[in-house]
Amino acid sequence: MSEQTKEAVSDLEQSVSVSKNSKKVHQVEDRIFMVCNGIFMFLFVLITLYPVLNTLAISFNDGIDGVRGGIYLFPRKWTFENYITVIRKQNLMQGAYITVLRTVIGTLTSLFANALLAYIISRKRFLFKAQLSFFWVITMYVNGGLIPIFLLYKGLGLTNSFWVYVIPGMVSAFNVLVIRTFMLGLPDSLEESAQLDGAGYMTIFVKIISPLCKPVYATIALFVAVYQWNSWFDAMLYNRMNAQFTTLQYELMKLLASVTNQSSSVDSMKNAAGAVTPVSIRAAATIVTILPIVCLYPFLQRYFVTGLTIGGVKE
């Protein structure tokens, strides 16, 4: 009996000392882990930010001086010439105008359409709830493809027009599902009590449900706005011949192509007015293009994080 107790005690002591030892080992391990993790995070941030900061530096640097290379995080020879050139470029400004226009109109119309459809299919008593949902879910997976869509838009008279940026992408089933999931989380009693007060479906949608959906609306608005702001392919495909409907990104793409083709040629530098080169102009145009987004997205962070999580869970 006493021997057994002794054994048990010594076992216990052993296990305690093992656990103490392993704790010490873990403390060292943890320290190493934290250092490695710190290095990893530093590199991650560096790789993410450096190219953007480098572009910023180039955009404020004298173009011809920049050809020598060696510009990293700070300009060597300060100038605003690149930005002035960008602002004076007719095509870039036209692109910026159209891009702002399509972002504003596209986001507002798309938000309204997606929210309304989400509202309809989230009504419990709606007669064709299942059918309408199914009809739209299918569109997430089946796609006619580039050529049929191209011919359709042509047939509808959407090519060579501004509206090709707004109308075709107005409703997106994925966004509708995200909003619907959010709406389903709202209490039914809201709708019921409003109905007792004599409110119709549209009044409830505008006055009761929508104000409560602000977080998810902000998420979807951000998604759509970023999509609109960054689009270039539709401008290239449907409005190639119409300089008046060009977009900022498409103009930027043409600028990139010109830089790639003649980066080393001296002619392009001679042609350019003042001390700018295609490289420095493009840097300035890039900064102008990303500035609105960079200023906006950190403030909408908590919205899109929740929005994305809702959407992902629902899927």
Binding site: S19, S22, V25, H26, E29, D30, F33, M34, F40, M41, F44, V45, I47, T48, P51, V52, G69, A113, L116, L117, I120, F126, L127, F128, L132, W136, T139, Y141, V142, G144, G145, L146, I147, P148, F150, L151, L152, V171, Y201, V226, N230, L237, Q249, L252, M253, L256, V279, R282, T289, I290, I293, V294, Y297, P298, Q301, V305, L308, T309, G312, E315
Partner: protein
């Protein structure tokens, strides 16, 4: 039986019904009508004669596709880059989420996360432009490599076929890792914190906690997202390849979408373009259906 479809209820819901009708018409025109265009793939479509009067030629266009070496190569490229992107972006997003979760200092954690989203909001035009600069002969990457004596003289990364797929994968990682990690971070934050406390008391280190608590905790999310993304494998191939590709790397850079664009729009062979696009859609849908079946199986297993 269908007592809910009575006149009174229809009258009550007329606003919803009118709007639904508008949405159905809209959806039909912009999403279902293009599917009718698939008929073109079986025709010798001429814009003059139109869809109704063009001559049917059966599977000739598909025959041409499968005998065309370029098309076979393009399918291979799309699949290879799609799978490479899928695997690398998955691994990186999970690794980043787990490691960021281990950063305990709020002062660092928040800004790192905010910065990690930044590239997601930049257009592919800008991303490829920036990348082009970084990888050019006098760009930062070559400068570092030369200074570290890894290479003797700058490499023109865009002129060598073997670099193209890794560049595409890296571009994708650079742009989307932070964004893709959001959902994993949410899943990690949903793990019961008492599990970690218990493990600490038992003397588990960080590494062990990651291995035995965090990873199993987000396993379900990982599987669901993986299955969801399988259907997108063929969709991962247009913007980067179109913007970064050039004559020298054409053989490995061109994807199905670029093929469609070249034949369909530039060469105006609408039928061939439609056939290639249809092939892509059908393969994608098949992948999605298979993934969904697997998803259902695994979720059933999890239930029991």
């Amino acid at each position: 039986m269908d007592s809910k479809y009575n006149i009174k209820e229809i009258k009550r819901q007329y606003v919803l019904l009118i709007w639904s009708a508008i949405f159905v018409v809209y959806g039909f025109v912009f999403y279902y009508l293009p599917l009718g265009g698939w008929i073109m793939a079986f025709q010798n479509y001429k814009p003059k004669t139109g869809l109704l009067h063009s001559k049917f030629i059966g599977l000739d266009k598909f025959k041409f596709l499968f005998e065309d070496d370029t098309f076979i190569r393009v399918v291979r490229n799309t699949l290879a880059m799609g799978v490479l992107n899928l695997v690398t972006s998955f691994v990186m997003a999970i690794v980043f989420a787990i490691l960021l979760n281990e950063v305990r200092n709020k002062f660092f954690k928040k800004p790192i996360q905010t910065i990690s989203y930044l590239p997601h909001f930049l257009s592919m035009i800008i991303v490829t432009g920036i990348l082009h600069d970084a990888l050019s002969a006098n760009g930062i990457v070559n400068e570092i490599l030369v200074n570290l004596n890894f290479i003797a003289r700058p490499i023109d990364f865009f002129a060598h076929k073997e670099f193209f797929w890794p560049i595409v994968a890296f571009t994708n990682l650079w742009k989307e890792t932070g964004w893709n990690a959001i959902i994993y971070l949410a899943a990690i934050s949903a793990i019961d914190p008492t599990l970690y406390e218990a493990a600490s008391i038992d003397g588990a280190g960080r590494w062990q906690k990651i291995k035995h608590i965090t990873l199993p905790g987000i396993k379900a999310t990982i599987i669901i997202l993986l299955l969801m993304n399988v259907g997108n494998v063929l969709n991962a191939g247009f913007e980067i390849q179109y913007l970064l590709g050039n004559g020298l790397v054409k053989g490995v850079a061109d994807t199905i979408d670029i093929y469609v664009l070249k034949w369909g729009v530039s060469q105006s062979d609408f039928s061939l373009g439609t056939a290639a696009g249809m092939f892509k859609s059908v393969v994608s849908i098949t992948l999605i259906v298979i993934a969904n079946v697997i998803a259902r199986r695994t979720s059933e297993e999890r239930l029991y």
